[in-house]
Symmetry: C2
Subunit: 257 residues, 2 copies
């Protein structure tokens, strides 16, 4: 049998959010490559070799996976969420572009998954029900000035926004700066929600406003969504969490910038 | 048994892209409510009533589903893709907000699915591998001026962009105007891809540039992705479709606006 490589999205965590397509690829694989935490979600079985690696070695991990596939292995690279959204697919193509020409003839498939922002949105209601932006707040691979530039355009365009990697121990200040920029451009009343560890037992959803939000409400396991000017709350009885949603229609009222 | 309502994403079309969570909800339902085309994807079985309705009656359909759940039925509202992205979830919350207060105590769950832009992105490579925007190009529910306003900010922020509902028989001019606006803001060399009927037997992926793209390349079954300034092609041997991807790192070079 000839080698192939599938870059597969495991979804946010719950097994019932893994597509049958991804499950079938895992069942057919000889090798699984990925970050420790995600490889740990794949049950071991005879004939399957698990290659777990540390965080922040996405490029090296991609080269390893491509080498295995080129040598005839059936390789699944596991990613959380969707592999195409701030995850392993882009890293695999970077390695592929710079690697040996023979890699370009490989059978490469990207298998979509439920990305964190859509799982978080579903738990909260439908905050991304109208036009939105999706921004990685980590400045590991881009200058902070570009992040702020994009935040300002997202706000000026009145998009809802989903933020990945809002805050980590090594980057505690970025999210505080992002909140400041958003308060300035969207005002204190704008809705913001913090979805932590979505679809796991530790799931927590917090609904707040930019005026009340503080940086410590987010960590690396949190997906943050900021509403557009149209995003609304539906209050519910008996102290239940309100639903947050963005209507399908927009008045067109907005501050020009 | 008491009633509930689940707004479920069926994904782009292929059965292997339906999550086990959605399959379980369909198996437990007494009633399925939705647009004809999507209800047709649910196999009939004894004990299950299918309520198919026409396009453009999302609000009425939502009221019907909420009434059924309030009367004790187990109701799945089917949506294509992800219900939270230009689909049924927002419509259900609109109906819920305006409906009887008792509806607010209902058990409502949104079950995420593989949305078209992520399925399209996966088939093409990883064009949404960095920050991106997601815009509905239909001006049925918002003024065209707001769409153009958002296109201009998305371009100025150097986001990749995914466009839903780019073109229909009743709105043939909008997409032509959008292409003009994008050529002006992003230049003729910017990559654009047209993903039609993704995950079905009729799937077609076309990679082009803004300079070469013409409006007829899109219809209502097409998901359009425009790259950022960083989006690249990887050519492949033997006339195979090139991969399109956006690297994870950004130089920060951009034209300020």
């Amino acid at each position: 049998m000839s080698g192939w490589i599938a870059v597969a999205g495991l979804g946010p965590g719950a097994p019932e959010l893994i597509t049958p397509e991804v499950a079938a690829a895992l069942a057919a694989a000889t090798d699984v490559v990925g970050y420790n935490t995600y490889v740990d979600r794949v049950p071991p079985r005879p004939g399957l070799t698990l290659h777990a690696s540390d965080n922040r070695v996405e490029y090296e991990r991609s080269c390893q996976a491509l080498e295995l596939a080129a040598s005839g292995k059936q390789v699944v690279v596991v990613s959380s969420g969707d592999p195409g959204v701030f995850a392993m697919a882009a890293a695999v193509f970077e390695a592929l572009e710079e690697g040996p020409a023979a890699w370009r003839a490989l059978d490469v498939r990207i298998l979509p998954g439920i990305t964190a922002m859509l799982a978080a949105s579903a738990e909260a209601g439908a905050p991304l029900g109208h036009d939105f932006c999706c921004i990685n707040l980590s400045d590991n691979l881009k200058p902070w000035s570009l992040i702020e530039h994009r935040l300002r355009h997202a706000a000026a365009g009145d998009f809802a926004m989903a933020f990945y990697n809002p805050r980590s121990k090594s980057r505690p200040e970025g999210f505080a700066k992002a909140l400041e920029c958003l308060r300035e451009t969207c005002g204190d009343d704008r809705l913001i929600l913090f979805a932590r560890a979505v679809s796991s037992d530790e799931q927590q959803i917090q609904v707040s406003t930019l005026g009340e939000a503080h940086p410590e409400m987010a960590d690396m396991r949190t997906l943050v969504i900021v509403g557009s000017s149209q995003t609304r709350l539906i209050e519910r009885p008996e102290g239940r969490q309100p639903w947050v949603y963005t209507p399908r229609s927009a008045s067109g009222e907005r501050s020009d910038s």
